[in-house]
């Protein structure tokens, strides 16, 4: 049964909201977008995007195991992600890495962990008969499977996350931008980092339930990266990030409702489009600024050479 999109948008939204699963999905999507947008902004600042992705990927075997064992997927998602975050946080600093592609060794380790996690998830799914269709939902997201309980759990997880984020705000920012100086000034950098990893795990687990474990990037990273392209101010940045994530979530869900194509595609496409637009705008703005100040070729070249 395919609902029909008409020109009367208000009527379309009302029709959509008549379905309880959509209401749940939109509530979940809103919560997830807020948490993912805020935490994602800090994560991109700390250059830990791939830690976030890995944590989300680890959620997949957790959820699959939960289904196999007959419990709610939430246990699996949150359990696996939080456990992994604790493991990463407990590793000595010399063994812990957050980036990708630098030293071949560490990205090989991250790649292996991801592959093994996905393989385990496949094992659990295979052991649980007749769940192969659910495989797509776990990996790429779905709008139709969000229960009221899941929404409640999301709320319960989101609130402390946001509270902790607000409380940690300034020391976290300081420790992210300048860990050595922050440490010297008495900020417990390692503790702050570990707490952030836990929050990241919660955000990743929550986001996985909307976008699927593989496409967490779409809500956790891309809106934040878009915000970073546009401004360097923290408050504005977090606001923009949350805003973009909300737009992507709502638009993605609505379009997914009316089309046969899954939400994972729509959310990634919307956020990617936003990212491209922001990048293009930034490049254009740089060039206009450069033209106004002809003598600053070196400065703008240096600015372009810096990592975005």
């Amino acid at each position: 049964m395919q609902p029909h999109l008409s020109w009367d948008l208000v009527e379309d939204v009302r029709q959509m909201l008549a379905f309880p699963f959509m209401v749940n999905a939109l509530r979940a999507g809103t919560l997830v977008a807020v948490v993912a947008g805020a935490i994602g902004w800090v994560m991109v600042l700390r250059r830990q995007s791939f830690a976030g992705h890995t944590l989300a990927v680890v959620g997949f075997p957790g959820a699959a195991a939960a289904i196999w064992l007959g419990v709610a997927t939430g246990w699996g998602y949150y359990g696996a992600c939080i456990a992994s975050a604790l493991v990463i946080a407990a590793l000595p600093p010399s063994a812990r890495r957050g980036g990708l592609g630098g030293f071949g060794e560490e990205s090989a380790l991250i790649g292996t962990v991801q592959a093994f996690a996905l393989a385990c998830g496949f094992l659990f799914v295979s052991l649980y008969h007749g769940f192969l269709s659910g495989l797509t939902n776990l990996l790429f997201g779905t709008i139709s499977g969000v229960t009221g309980t899941q929404v409640q759990v999301l709320l319960l997880a989101a609130l402390p996350c946001l509270v902790v984020l607000a409380v940690l705000g300034r020391p976290l920012l300081f420790a992210s931008i300048d860990p050595d100086l922050a440490g010297a000034r008495g900020v417990p950098v390692r503790l702050v980092g570990a707490l952030f990893l836990l929050m990241l795990a919660v955000a990743a687990a929550g986001t996985s339930q909307i976008t699927g474990s593989l496409l967490v990037f779409a809500l956790l990273v891309t809106p934040a990266a878009t915000a970073h392209r546009l401004t360097a101010r923290p408050a504005l940045g977090v606001g923009l990030s949350v805003g973009f994530a909300l737009v992507a979530s709502w638009v993605g869900m609505t379009v997914a409702f009316y089309s046969p194509y899954p939400i994972g595609f729509w959310v990634t496409t919307v956020t990617f489009a936003g990212y491209l637009l922001a990048t293009g705008w930034r490049l254009a703005a740089d060039r206009v600024g450069q033209r106004r100040r002809p003598g600053s070729a070196v400065a703008s070249a240096a600015a372009r050479g810096m990592p975005a």
Binding site: F103, G104, E105, V298
Partner: protein, 298 residues
């Protein structure tokens, strides 16, 4: 001398060698060479000669084009005017007989490849194919033995025997440079080109490497052309220096070239050469190249 490019040719100063009759063919000969990189003229009207068995340093301020000049000699960068003859052929043809030590950062500490394997690459790293560890010993024992002998020889030559089998990332800067010099020497080159090899080394290592290079230069009759930004560590070992500036180059014995008069003439601005208590030379007033020189050539 400034502002008139046509007159900035400053040729070799003073007697270049003792007896002109018994001169061996030069390893490197540049005549009136200019080069452009990225649209800018890097240097022009450079004339220099390096003979076998000579230890020659190429000096000059940052951005003067020293690394570019080495690349011209290697045929990696084209030259717009003049002639370049390297080992009797145009630049780039006889690179297999040249040992090249480019300006590199140190190997990452995580690099777990042994130094001896990196030296070995200098021997045949360019040949297609892939070695199978045991097979070469079985199928071509003579070749394998010869390669092994040469490898041991050259590592012994640079004194790296104690740490050649260590992962190269765990060797110190001086140790890495010795291994890399061994790599450059393994094919018995006639010309050795080094780009700032002493850059990140401490003083004792600098002295050691400089002495090693001079030793190789004398005993193996290799022509050595070395780029340096500080002449002091190598001054005692040098036969000739070349000072490079945007307008041209000056070549000759150190005592003749590194003087206030010569350098002032070369750069067209007042440059002083002073000697401190320890006998070290200090060059004051040497202008750096303008800001838009091509980026660090690595």
């Amino acid at each position: 001398m400034s502002g008139n490019p046509g007159q900035l040719r400053v040729d070799a100063v003073g007697p270049v060698s003792d007896s002109a009759a018994a001169l061996p063919a030069p390893a490197v000969e540049l005549t009136d060479v200019a080069a452009r990189l990225g649209g800018h003229r890097v240097f022009s009207y450079v004339t220099l000669t390096v003979r076998p068995g000579e230890f020659v340093a190429l000096l000059g301020p940052n951005g003067a084009g020293k690394s570019t000049l080495l690349k011209v000699i290697l045929g990696l960068v084209g030259h717009t005017t003049g002639t370049v003859t390297v080992l009797g052929a145009p630049a780039g043809r006889r690179n297999r007989a040249i040992g090249y030590l480019p300006q590199r950062h140190a190997f990452d500490a995580d690099t777990r490849i042994r130094g001896i394997d990196i030296v070995r690459l200098g021997l045949d790293g360019h040949r297609w194919g892939t070695p199978v560890p045991l097979l070469s010993r079985l199928l071509r024992p003579a070749h394998h033995r010869q390669a092994g002998q040469r490898l041991a020889e050259v590592i012994d030559l640079v004194g790296a025997g104690a740490y050649a089998r260590r992962p190269i990332g765990q060797c110190s800067g001086g140790e890495q440079q010795r291994l890399l010099i061994a790599q450059a020497l393994i094919r018995r080159p006639e010309l050795l080109i080094l780009d700032e090899p002493l850059d990140s080394l401490d003083v004792p290592s600098q002295a050691g490497i400089s002495a090693l290079i001079q030793d190789i230069c004398r005993t193996q009759r290799v022509a050595v052309l070395m780029v340096a930004h500080d002449v002091n560590p190598i001054l005692p070992y040098l036969d000739q220096v070349i000072y490079l500036a945007r307008g041209g180059a000056v070549m000759g014995r150190p005592a003749e070239v590194i003087t206030s008069d010569t350098l002032t003439t070369l750069y067209g601005t007042p440059v002083d050469v002073l000697r401190d208590r320890a006998g070290r030379l200090v060059v004051v007033g040497q202008p750096d190249a303008p800001a838009h020189h091509p980026g660090p050539s690595r």
